[in-house]
Amino acid sequence: MLATLSGLFENDYDDEGFRTCSVTGLEIHRSAEVHVKLFGLTAVIALIVGGVFALTVALTRWEVIGLVGEFDGYYRHLSMHAWNILIFWMVFMEIAILYVGGSMVLGRRLPFTSLAKVGYVLMLAGALGINYFIWTLSGGSDAPLLTAYVPLDVPPGFYASSIVFLLGATVAALPFLLTLWYEKRGNWSATLPLVTFGAFATFIIAVQAILGGLVAFSYALVWQVGLIDSINTGIYRQLYWIIGHGSQQINLLAMITVWYFLTHVVGGAVVVSEKISRSAFILYLFFINLGAAHHLMVDPGLSVEWRIFNTSYAFYGAALASMIHAFAIPAGLEAGRRQRGLGGGLFGWLTSAPWRNPIFASTIFSIIMFGFLGGISGVLMGQLQLNMTWHNTYATVGHFHATVALGTTLAFMGLVFFVIKTMFQRNFISDRLALLVPYGYSAAMGIAVLVMMYVGILFGVPRRTSEVVSNIPGSDFSLSAAEPLFWLIGPMTVLAVLVGVVFVLVAVGSLLLGSRTDSDDDRELLPDGGLRPDGGESVHAVEMRGTFTLCLIFMATFVAMYVLNWFLLTQLWEIGA
């Protein structure tokens, strides 16, 4: 067993510890590769833990089953689900992505690997602590859920563990920063590759988020242990959402970086305009954190001007950036494939793409689902007035499952498959099962997410509760009109978890039992004609009318949803001064 495990971390390196990846052509140093594997594998373990609780939460919200009762620990289950998937699966993966985007893409060794190890141990200790304090909650204490809102009675150990985890993530990210430092030190004027640039933007957003988190959790901790007498609810919420939303912005940037990377390697995409794509990353740096204010839209005590500035004028800077990426990546795919003569007509470049490659399918479904479901809903709920109809309803749950559980998770699943093929150099135990993952997961989660938004907006079903649809304990009233729709949400979320199980089986099974890849396997991963375009036309001379059409469809969907939401709002009674 131990030999199998240590075998996972071995590849053929030269005397200096480098090898050339036969898929990407990158010069990869052992120090970077073993740490990418370490953080990636830990992320998958967090996904498994969080996935188990996804099932118990889903089977509770499907009230026909009502698995875990209000007083039987439902909120502990919900907290475990949130922290393991939304934080641990994501952040461990993101550290791995930083090492890929830094050391691997630049062809350098990972400097100060001791920092990576210390960071890893701190992150692991923090994660274990958080799981421990959630799971062992005693009668008098409250479950933290994701937000640990004060003045709930959340155990101090929980806040302390969160601080340890965040410090660990900061330490683990430092080798990435040092990689860039060494790269640029001798060569200030040379430009970084786009993927490294995206990873660097991710790093900066992460630092902002983590600082906010350290302040928020420290504030709550000193209050919980009695060093200060009172704590201000609104200030905690403002501080908390710097990390609460900021952590999701780390996911966003990491995911977009993965989109550029994987569409290029397995789809043959080119970068249409380096300047435009890089400008979009810079827009995020300035504006995306301010967008976190959309969590506070219906809070008391904040001025209208503050709320509107942050979530419209500032946030449009970030939404613009996202739309630039959403255009640039499919455009790059279209241009790259047309340059090679792959597919004519409006969408031939897309229909001829390697849809039987699970890495490609995961990436493309991630882009589509994130944009159409997560992006549109995010802009809608970020409107000051519309937020009243979205806030804390099941529609919110639909939104962030579209972004994180569909968009980011799918992209990261694709990346895990890619790492299994290229770094662990193992074939999948079953190509068919691997291919089932992106299709099955997108379909099941896609339907679940749409219906979640539907029951949230049109039936007012709240989030964060064990039962409310069939029965509100102690009341004659209920939201049972929404009950039939839970016959879609329930089975679809369960199905999504089952596909998640297939993902884990394929990933872990391939690592332990998969055959070693050879050069033929590597060639199969690449788009027809190898990794680089065959020259010929320059990018701006290539038509991108397929992407333009897709953008028009996106815009039409957006406008329809926007009008519909505002129409529903104006049907309400008069509210507000």
Binding site: Y149, N232, P300, Q385, L458, G460, A482, W573, E574, G576
Partner: protein, 167 residues
């Protein structure tokens, strides 16, 4: 968004005051002492309440209405309001954060949600047009028992209001 705060009728906007939770509870108690009472039967049957029925449903003494979240009940609910009249809804909490999620029974899609803090009093004016029983659910997690936290708000046709509240 900015324009809608000027010409639109639905905005999550109102005066806010820092209060301590006990102080807000004292305001609620004073308001309850001054308020009248009626009953659901009187409202549903469109008749004045019998004297022994004047118990559960609060009849606000003026234009102010107090609603206070507390693990796991709504202080100040149920309450009877007159359709078409503007009330100042004073929202606050006694212990932890709560969520004021309200909808009429007959039209679930007409629902809004406001966040409530224990250290802030938020005065949000509202004018309910359609007579119906409106239901309030807590939609911010407030501890185990959160799912049981609900209350109601009766909006009565202006022509019947004085009758059914027994004025």
């Amino acid at each position: 968004m900015s324009g809608f705060t000027r010409f639109g009728d639905q905005n999550p906007v109102g005066e806010t005051y820092e209060v301590d939770p006990a102080g807000f509870e004292a305001s609620l108690d004073a308001y309850r002492d001054e308020a009248g009472r009626t009953s659901a039967d009187a409202i549903n049957e469109g008749r004045p309440p019998e004297e022994d029925e004047r118990q559960r449903i609060i009849v606000p003494p003026g234009d102010s209405v107090y609603v206070m979240g507390r693990q796991f009940t709504w202080g100040g609910l149920p309450v009877a309001l007159e359709a078409g009249r503007e009330y100042d809804i004073h929202l606050g909490a006694r212990d932890v954060q709560h969520g004021f999620s309200i909808r009429p029974e007959q039209s679930l899609s007409q629902q809004i949600n406001l966040q409530i803090f224990p250290d802030t009093e938020w005065v949000v004016p509202m004018t309910f047009e359609d007579p119906d029983e409106y239901h309030v659910i807590c939609n911010e997690f407030c501890g185990a028992g959160h799912a049981t936290m609900s209350g109601s708000l009766f909006v009565v046709d202006a022509d019947e209001y004085d009758t059914v509240v027994g004025n």
